[in-house]
């Protein structure tokens, strides 16, 4: 298959732990099979920061916790035919969404930042300030699932999803015959 006929895949990690990208590598030696069918465009795996051209599939790890995440996610929607939310963070906010509902707090984001940078027992922060450099993307009030921000075509569940479910989903999508997951393979953890 010539390079031009290969499907192009772009990937990105938003508010995630990179575990879902590590899980893509969990497809092990089947990567060789997959690489006969696809080429990676913009992705941390290629270290390309921008799209070189329109992609067939965009894979999103993580939800949106800051304005840059929203910008990148919209950019993926514009540049990809099919958008996949990979893992619980992308699907429902995941662990970062714990900051949305902090017990006893009317201002959970503030409480989260204060505990992380000022009041926490195990912190050594000589500035005694919450980082506020203009270069840092503005945090959103809450962590949002990807489907709250753009239209998502498919969601691959798991934290992290297994190599099997990632490989099976991608290969059946590429073959044009994805008809949902085997129920035994659906896991939220």
């Amino acid at each position: 298959m010539s390079e031009l006929e290969k499907a192009r895949i772009a990937t990105v990690s938003l508010a995630g732990c990179f575990g879902c990208h590590m899980a893509i590598l969990d497809i092990d030696e089947r990567l060789i099979e997959l690489m006969k069918l696809v080429e990676f465009d913009r992705s941390p795996l290629t270290d390309m920061k921008t799209f070189t051209r329109r992609c067939d599939i965009g894979i999103i790890e993580g939800g949106c916790c800051n304005e840059e995440n929203v910008h990148v996610l919209r950019d993926f929607r514009r540049n990809c035919d099919v958008l996949i939310a990979l893992g619980q963070c992308a699907i429902m906010g995941g662990l970062p969404a714990m900051r949305n509902a902090i017990m006893h707090s009317d201002a959970p984001l503030r409480e989260c930042l204060e505990e992380a940078y000022i009041t926490g027992d195990y912190i050594r922060n000589t500035t005694h300030q919450i980082p506020n450099d203009p270069a840092l993307p503005l945090l959103l009030d809450e962590v949002y699932p990807c489907s709250d921000v753009v239209e998502i075509d498919y969601q691959i569940p798991g934290c992290a999803p297994s190599g099997d479910i990632i490989f099976n989903t991608l290969s059946s999508l590429l073959a044009g015959r994805f008809h949902g997951f085997a129920r035994e393979n659906i896991k939220f953890d």
Partner: protein, 239 residues
């Protein structure tokens, strides 16, 4: 003289039943699984969660409380009913905080297992309510995280009817109704780790937590790692 046994059908399969049996009891005995969350073996039926909704004679009824009747035609596993059930289960997820990756019930949780069985994998159309309820960890052996409670009342029925204690009850109304304990906190009730209401089987989710035993079973060996929820009942049919 008591009424004779009879039959009815579920999705075209003939199900034998005895007078007084509910649709679900007869189905269970015949190895036909009807999804359920609030119904639990050994506790009185309640018909609260509506996950067991079936069409009986064209009407939507709760299979756990509706008596079976001769020649009744019941629909159970149809796309339409399963979609209703999936929406119900999804709303239960959204009503609480269900972060499965950090929950000690994960893999043994009936809500999660029901989501797997009903293929709850599509992008959601419901908002997340994200409650902020305080965790009650006052008791030396038990903790309560009601952010994961699905108001199934299994603990209430178990504590009242089996333990004869009444440790759990509801407070509030409508969307604000939630499970509370009969005291200022769990430590100030007569709840005990040996209560039936506290046993691993009663709370279907990770709300009633037995301290010191979480995450003991490795991934792959937990209850629903071995098969879909309901497969034990369905297995009876094949035997």
């Amino acid at each position: 003289m008591s009424d004779p046994d009879f039959t009815f059908t579920i999705d075209g399969t003939t199900i034998p039943a005895k007078p007084g049996q509910t649709i679900m009891e007869a189905a269970d005995a015949a190895g036909v699984y009807i999804p359920r969350l609030c119904d639990h073996e050994g506790l009185r039926h309640q018909g609260g969660c509506r996950v067991c909704t079936v069409k009986a004679g064209g009407r939507s009824v709760a299979a756990c409380t509706q008596p079976a009747a001769p020649k009744l035609v019941v629909e159970n596993e149809t796309d339409h009913i399963n979609k209703l059930r999936r929406d119900l289960v999804e709303m239960l997820f959204h009503e609480g905080n269900h972060l499965c990756p950090i929950c000690e019930a994960s893999g043994n949780c009936e809500l999660q297992a029901m989501a797997y069985r009903l293929d709850m994998t599509g992008p959601t159309k419901f908002p997340y309510l994200e409650p902020c309820r305080a965790v009650d960890a006052s008791h030396p052996d038990i903790a309560l995280d009601t952010n994961r409670c699905i108001s199934c009342s299994r603990c209430i029925r178990a504590s009242q009817d089996v333990d004869h204690k009444g440790v759990f009850g509801y407070v509030g109304r409508g969307i604000h109704r939630r499970v509370a304990v009969n005291g200022s906190d769990l430590a100030h009730t007569d709840a005990d780790i040996t209560d039936h209401a506290i046993s691993a089987d009663v709370c279907p989710v990770g709300c009633i937590i037995r301290k010191g035993v979480g995450f003991a079973t490795p991934i792959g060996e937990r209850e629903f790692d071995h098969g879909l929820i309901g497969s034990d009942i369905e297995g009876k049919r094949r035997e």
